[in-house]
Subunit: 192 residues, 2 copies
Amino acid sequence: MGKVCVEGVGKFYQHYPMVAAVVTARLGEKANAMAAAWHSSLSRKPPLYGVAISPKRFTHDLILEVGEFGVNFLPFDRAGIIAAVGGSTGREVDKFEAFKIAEEKPVLTSVPILQDAYAAYECKLVSHHTLGDHTWFVGEILMVHLLEEALTEEGVLNLERVTPALYLGADLYLSPSPESVLRLAREVYGRV
Amino acid sequence: MGKVCVEGVGKFYQHYPMVAAVVTARLGEKANAMAAAWHSSLSRKPPLYGVAISPKRFTHDLILEVGEFGVNFLPFDRAGIIAAVGGSTGREVDKFEAFKIAEEKPVLTSVPILQDAYAAYECKLVSHHTLGDHTWFVGEILMVHLLEEALTEEGVLNLERVTPALYLGADLYLSPSPESVLRLAREVYGRV
C-alpha cells in the first residue's frame, strides 16, 4: 500500500505511543489526578515541562488557582491507575480515595506525588498559553522524585528494572521492548 | 532501593522514551532536517502541534523565516537517519544530499516530507514562545502524510506493520513491544 494525504485531522494518534503521565494538583482539601498524553520537555536550564490540559478538566482550574502541578510516571503494571483517573472526574469523586491511590509527601510544593510512580516532577507554574482547545501549562521542575534503581549510570531509564507505560491511543497501553535497544551515536551517524 | 529526591535537573530523561521526530523546514534553496525528542500534541480543533527547538539550531531560524515546519516519524529500522540529522548541522552540510534522504512532495507547504516516514505533518507556524533555553514552535497541522497500512481501523498505529522509533536518551533508540498491548477502558477503570 502507498501513502495517503489527509487534510486536517480528527483524532490523531500518528505520533503515538507516548509515555502516559498522571498530572496532579492540590488546593487545600481539593486534590485531583488526571491522565495526560500530551506533554513535553521544554527547556534544560531552567528545567521546564509542559502539559496540555483541556479547560473542561477539573485539574485545569485547580492548577491555575494553586500555581503548581505534578507530573507522575507510572510503571506499566500500574496502568490501571492511569485508566482510572482518566475515566473519572474530580468534580464528582475524590480519585485518591475512590481508587486507593497512595501518596508520598511532596518536598517543595503541595502537589500529590504518587507512591507507585517511578519518577515524578514537582512543578511551579511559570506561564500558561491558550493554544487551540487546550491550555499549555508551563512549569519549572523544582524537584524530581525518582526510584533509585530507575536510571542507569548514564541517566537513562533502566528498562530491566522499570517498565514505562506507553499510551497508543484508544485506551490501549503498551510497554517498550528492552531487547530492542540500539545505540546510534550521533557523532558517528552524523559524520559526512 | 527506595526513592530519592533531586532538586532541579541536568539532563533529564525520566519521562522518556519519546517517539523520535525529524523536524524539517525549507526556504528557497535552504532545507534542513533535525532530530527532536521534545514535541507534543496541543489541540484537537484546530489540530496544533508543538516542537521545542534551541535557538542554536539552523532549523530554528529557518522556521521563523518561512513560517512552516514539518514533523516526520520514521520507523525503527530508519533510526540511523534520525541519528544522522541529529549529529550534523545544516549550516555546514546539505543533510538531504549528504545522507541521501529521499523526499516526497509536500501538498500545502514547502516543508520536506521524508519518504521513509510512516507519518508526517505539514504545519503552518501559528505562534512561537521563548520558554527557557528553547523556543516552543506551535504549528497548525494542515496536512497529514500517512502510510495507508500504518493505522488500524480504530485509527491507532498498527504495530504489526509499523515499528516506531522511540528515543530513550543518550543516543539510545528502541521499539515498542507489540505483544504487550493491553486495552484498559477508561469507562471500566474509572467506574467508582
